[in-house]
Symmetry: C2
Subunit: 424 residues, 2 copies
Amino acid sequence: MTRVLRGNIVSAPELGRLDVTEHGYLVLEDDGRIAGVFDRLPERYAAAPCTDYGDALVMQSFADMHLHAPQYPMLGMGMDLPLLDWLNTYAFPTEARFADPDYARRIYRRLASDLITNGTTRVCMFSSLHTEATWILMEELERAGVTGCVGKVNMDRNALPGVLEETTEQSVRETLRWLEGCRFAHVKPILTPRFTPSCTDELMGRLGQIAAERGLCVQSHLSESRPEMAWVRQLHPDCERYWETYDKFGLWKDRTVMAHCVYSDAEERAAMRRSNVLAVHCADSNVNICSGVCPVRQLLREGNWVALGSDIAGGAQLPMYKVVTAAIRASKIRRIMDGEAADFLTVEEAYYLGTTAGHRYFGAGAGFAPGDKLHAIVLDDGDFPESAGPLSVRERFERAVYMAHRHNIIAVWSEGRCVVGGEN
Amino acid sequence: MTRVLRGNIVSAPELGRLDVTEHGYLVLEDDGRIAGVFDRLPERYAAAPCTDYGDALVMQSFADMHLHAPQYPMLGMGMDLPLLDWLNTYAFPTEARFADPDYARRIYRRLASDLITNGTTRVCMFSSLHTEATWILMEELERAGVTGCVGKVNMDRNALPGVLEETTEQSVRETLRWLEGCRFAHVKPILTPRFTPSCTDELMGRLGQIAAERGLCVQSHLSESRPEMAWVRQLHPDCERYWETYDKFGLWKDRTVMAHCVYSDAEERAAMRRSNVLAVHCADSNVNICSGVCPVRQLLREGNWVALGSDIAGGAQLPMYKVVTAAIRASKIRRIMDGEAADFLTVEEAYYLGTTAGHRYFGAGAGFAPGDKLHAIVLDDGDFPESAGPLSVRERFERAVYMAHRHNIIAVWSEGRCVVGGEN
């Protein structure tokens, strides 16, 4: 059944552009695809049932393109160490708990609920190395209405012996078993070598083969911190740059997702562009574990594809509206570091990175593109402090990005279905 | 009546030290003063009524030592300009609205409520230049249970002509009238020349006289951004450093409060120590309007007195637990900028800056010091995600600072009275 949503419709179809349709109409086809956004409702939809969101903002939902599901239990803790120590001291022991499927079920149900109620409808996510827990994660996401990609993590070296480890053979065997069991409509598998120091050459090679044979995408980490990069150079003395350690094994390819890219130099940035690799900027995490400040503006200027990630739990903020403002702040810090010449990200730009730039990964068009299944949030800013004068929808949008809380998100649409606050 | 609070009692009596009394007792004398914190309840208090907060954290409340009340309506908006342009384009027009007492009443009632329910029980606050609105602000804070200092702003030059301005004579006359009308038990006046570019020499001199005659404290801004400092040098070619422009007029003295101090050099930092001037670090604001990153660690190492401020609305976050984590992040950014040698602020340290360091300004002792009126929050973290294992109270404290939301704060005590979630 065709249906109509009414409200102040806001989308970011391209970097720096914000489309605002005040008291407009968003029409959905019966399969949840967008027919169009209209100032005035076309005559042909006059009989369609209408959900009137009143003066609320109907905005694009968010895509969180990098986060570690099994680190959710340690959110907001243990951020007194740099990356490599932080992994061994905090992250790995926490991930080890996910050998227990009951624990995984409880945490992942909560995570899926927290994602969707905060307006994140698409993810590109790391699980742990546990096959069962990874299925449970995918199942819980699917149930909650969170769509996207999840990867069982591969790590056959430099793990935590006796606590969190797998052999090369186990890693490959479990990956294949996991892939066999992935039968979810909206949550798809993605190959996930943790990062170069975690994977032997043999494992990387096998994963490259699997990726090629099955047409699977790949996600991993790249040039996040300087000590990590030094380690990678030691491990692969034949590779001049970090990205080559993935390329060598067929893991650097169209739509490979690389988190961080804080220290990627001009060559590495060019390699990303050549292969259509997505760089995921994780501003909060980069600061929390003292990795660095990613030059996002430079990546964008050069034409790189950049989206945003919460990077839970190096990041301490799951809601993507917080991640968007963290990215703005990080870009302002770059400006402080680099001098006045460096532009910071505007709210429109950062919001684009947290929405369209990520949704593109899953085949979506720009903004609320006709033909796309609807991914949207409805945001009621009625409890924000009274402003000094009437606000434009653009100003309300800015304030919403900075000040939203979960309770302001009164409805969420994912894959064309209303999954939070729904009437259907 | 003597009474007992039971819970996990957490305080930061000195920089880097956290006192934790698990399932302890905090005893209050009948006037709301702290008798002591105890592992086991002393026999002599056995008959006193006890409020049992169960497994919740009983923590020090926060002191917000720099914020602009009349900028609350623009929270989370207009942060695309550096300081001086931002003032003219956003801040001054918003402040001009406070000529209207009804508007002031509505906004300040909301602000006072938002402060206290987020656990801020002491403030050092800028009002606008309006006398009536300033009284209203003080009244609303007093009513809500927020204590501390508020200043009518003085600005007789470089204001916004026709919108927000006062002459020298008006400024002095209104200041005296305002002081006459300040009769609030827990909210006291503080002299508030906006910043050097806003005040003529004559006005500064008159304020210095008033401060001396009436024993009043002073608050203002110092070395926040480079263009501002260049402007101050132009205005006062005889002053080598910004602080001297206050000192010249008797405004730099014991317990003067100076917001920002981002670019204060060694001489200026020494001048602060000599005069017992409080430096208020406003991390979020400094990033939002691209001012810079304050070297807080250096100030602390040298023995300067540093507390924290939300700096609403350059800052976009009113809750001080957010301001505390913003200060941690800023210190990590300094580390990224300055190299590994620079220590960042630990959670304990930043929490100390947001609590004891500010409370000291109002005569309080260290942590939950016997003899002090109780300023505390009770934080229920029961809805945080399940952790990977049992957490110590120290770990729960860390998580609470990073993840708290207003709804987690189930009670607030201010000046010895329970003002939120109370049973008395």
